[in-house]
Symmetry: D2
Subunit: 340 residues, 4 copies
């Protein structure tokens, strides 16, 4: 069976997903696209063998030709599109953030709970990266004993001029927020953002940040968020447990000896580093939907919880100090601890 | 456009390829299968949404429903099937070996040259491994200067009971034979097989071997072939050039500290190590065929040349000494040096 | 010229130093020892070719036969012995801590300033570890741009039963306190100790700790202090700068492939990890003293500053919160920034 | 007790050894020097506190002031000096080669056997390198099962203009010859030298070489000898055994991330790489001599055996082909297998 997918929002990340979904692994194709820019929608549809450009996201969601929906439009539009998908009973894959406020995220959770079935998946791709999966497997398998501390670094070579201080949390550290909940199977109970000496490479931007997260069970996490490191793109993580540690290994496929050093290449950006994770993320989503199973990936609850933590971190960034986080009880629909 | 593929031979490797090709990346599906074991063909077809089990490989090749053919049947049947595909003007992906004798390989080359168009691709998957591609990119990009020496190791954790001494060359080292021709862009001019102290783990088997290859330009290569190393499956390669060296890096995605060591996992077998290379190999083959371009991967000439070198290595293994290799002139159809 | 050394305190670390100093590199020998346990002093002296056991540390310091003094006695005795050495005009190498209170350390600084010549060196051996020196060389040489963040881990396999919570700071993290001042050439301006989830392996002990240090120039440092990690002894440090990072590399001399992993040994304890640093530390001390130069290693000021920071960290550990640190002006005798 | 050492030949390596022995670890001092260049001997003696320049090596050996002798003079003089030390009953440490011909080496062996006590040690320093010792410990400890194959690389950044083809064997590969005998506890039974494509960086020099050694028990070893690799100095070795492998690890103390790579420094030359091995070599020699024990390091037999293998390798280099090696029976004085 082939899954017929409609894609709302065909900018860069939308087109990346279309490339993976049209004639994609497991049997999917893109049959409809919509975009605020109708011309762009038409152009993208024209490059596909079976896709029509529809006038709006709402029309796309309503279309009988569309089995499942991918939302990669502008953040503020996520909430209405996802709610419409829930109402229409169609599986929806929504890029992060699930919605731009925690209240909006909460409304999505409530609607899905009312519908009684998980159909929303949020695009936290890191859960699908083979190295991060091996990390979780080592932790869950007892290779290091109970986790006690985690050290992470999220480093970008550079960021565009419009990048703001708040984006260091809401767009960048949000990945660690979801990753930590998933990796450790715990909610985050408190957060504090520290502002070290500022890099001269980032202009006015407060860069880097050091973010401390306290997990519900007391595990303490420090995350370096650096977005102008110049040398490349790198994600690092080491979990210290009672009897050992596990860390992400170097990703360079070869080592070159020349000019006095032995060296491995560092990825230039997230696309290079995480290509495979996007492949797997969408393949597993298609497989799940085709099989008629409830989606298993990052849920609406995960999107909501990440937004709550992100807001708390922003509060700490703005006002200083440690911010406690209280989540409402997790609905039974999401009974399992955060897991992929 | 979707490529409709027929698969001849649905044993283990055949079923692996079917999994990748049916609803696969780039848009392919399996529409027909055939197998010497008709029951098995029927069973496999029954698990697919669009495939019929046909009575024979010849019928499959002749079928109008089949755009392109994958040959994963028993080695001795490769020659007639590939020749039939050439005659039918259909692209064919044939698992290694192209054929079981160099004469048979040569007949395939001659038929393809007579047909005037490259349509045969041989399943030397290592060219598609990202790490091997990075290795070649470093060499071709001048990172280490002109290559002078290469050191390789091909290690299997264990081999089945029916594995014979000759298979160390014809089934195992054949991968290095193709890889070296591709990596260095040179034919192999001579070979000598050395038999070191025998492992007690391999029973009667002469294991390991040390194979020396001399490339046409004088680059000297030593290959450790060990098929009972117990600790895991590993492929190693370092190229020493005039100003530096490049080597395959460790493949472990995480490093665990525990019990006195810091350790990374080694793959258990070739499936684990090379999964991604098979994905890419078949994706690129489908893309090329769908685009109507001549196939760019390992050619019939590559299959033939590898067989000639393999035969020479077997001669050295049986009789001792250094064996020179003379290839006939490369037909213009394969004018380019060995390349992916 | 041979340096004739007297050693006060001949317990484990004292005997280690004696082994290095008697007939040691650069030309030194141990001519006198003293210990609160007179019997132990006699036994140790009896094993040396040229040493006498003296009745007290004071007698040793006063002895004409002694050119320079090593103090490795019980912490509370450090202050009077070091003051006596200053009064006698004899160079003294004092194991950490310089003294057990910051007031006592301050009295030593004042006495040395009054004497007008640096003759006191404190046993912060990490400055002599070749890997830490390479780390500092990379930072100072501009390889990573201006430092912004540092991540450290100090891990012991286990600690003896009498080890207390305060020792995590005063005996263990004290090494990082000195190392950071030396590595970054900055005083520490504030400290906060966090207590994550407690390891079940440490009994009542609060283990691990996460200590945040703020350097005077805003560099932020997080230090994992874990003293029951079971897997081995390990010191880790990565400095993140404006254009790159530098970290301590693995120390294993060989890598073993076996049983599914590729692994390197982790040191069992600090003796194994830092043997070479002690060799170099004492060799350089002897060379400096023999040459009649003021001692260049960790100074009385360094011992004092470390004690002030350690006290602040203990205050944070006991009462919670961030503790600011105000040092008095650095006397001109120690004009240079912290350096080896 | 202090060991009073005389040093014959005070060129570069002689002065290096003097620096280590005068006031050196374990208690040694240099009391006499001699050199073909009397002026140089006087200058060097003048820089030491207790050394006299003597008129000749023979006078030095005969001097009652000299307990033990270090021979670092010109190779052709080694034989008479070592024989004189044996005759005088004085321990002698002789830099490699023991003598410049295998006959001369044999005469030394015969003289020492006649004397009935081991007093000659040859300067094969690699046995004292901690990484090589860890390699041997892994092999001997059974970590990889019985050894079957070894791969080595000996790479120099560059060589001086007077360096000749034969020196690739006699001065460079000689280190691997001794190392392999020691590491594997086996004599070398045959050797063949291969000449791959010549590096354009070495002028007329045939560089690199690939040398195959067959150990007496069938272990096969390939050694890359490259003396113009430009990128730095590096010694590599991997031993493949029945159940695993062990290899020398990278030596870089820190890893720097910058400009798109993560990199570790490679040593510039053998002095940088092997400093510690020389320290340990001489310390252990002094300790052994002071203790009055027969020397345990590389023996006269080891010097002789290495010379025989080196000569065989040169024969293969000049005339081509595999050269078998027959050693006479090992005298009982050297009954143990080659060991440190």
């Amino acid at each position: 069976m082939t899954l017929d997918v409609g894609v709302i929002g065909v900018g860069m990340i939308g087109q990346e997903h279309i490339r993976r979904l049209d004639g994609g692994p497991g049997g999917s194709r893109v049959v409809a696209v919509a975009d605020a820019d109708a011309q762009r929608a038409a152009t993208v549809a024209g490059q596909l063998s079976a896709a029509k450009a529809l006038a709006s996201g709402d029309e796309l969601i309503a279309s009988d030709a569309v089995d499942a929906v991918v939302v990669t439009s502008w953040g503020p539009t996520h909430e209405p599109y996802v709610l419409a998908c829930i109402a229409a009973g169609k599986p929806v894959f929504c890029e992060k953030p699930l919605a731009t406020t925690q209240d909006a995220c909460r409304r999505i959770v409530d609607a899905e709970v009312a519908a009684g079935r998980r159909g929303v998946q949020v695009g936290f791709n890191r859960r699908y990266d083979p190295a991060h999966r091996a990390l979780k497997q080592a932790v869950d398998g007892g290779a290091i004993g109970a986790p006690l501390l985690v050290h992470c670094a999220h480093r970008n070579a550079s960021v565009p001029g419009h990048y703001t201080r708040d984006m260091s949390i809401a767009d960048t550290a949000i990945h660690e927020i979801d990753q930590l909940r998933w990796l450790l199977g715990q909610e985050i109970a408190a957060v504090q953002v520290h502002t070290p000496r500022k890099s001269s490479r980032g202009g006015e931007l407060q860069d880097p940040l050091l973010v401390l997260f306290e997990m519900a069970d007391g595990v303490l996490v420090d995350v370096e968020v650096s977005v102008n490191v110049h040398y490349g793109y790198e994600i690092r993580c080491e979990v210290s447990g009672e009897t050992g540690t596990v860390e992400l290994a170097d990703t360079a496929p070869v080592r070159v000896r020349s000019a006095g050093v032995v060296a491995g290449l560092v990825p230039a950006d997230w696309r290079e580093r995480f290509t495979l994770s996007y492949d797997i993320e969408l393949r597993e989503w298609v497989d799940t939907v085709v099989a008629g199973r409830p989606t298993q990936g990052p849920s609406a609850w995960d999107g909501y919880a990440a937004q709550v933590v992100s807001d708390a971190a922003l509060q700490s960034l703005h006002a200083g100090g440690r911010v406690s986080i209280e989540l409402p009880p997790r609905p039974g629909l999401y009974a399992a601890p955060p897991a992929s």
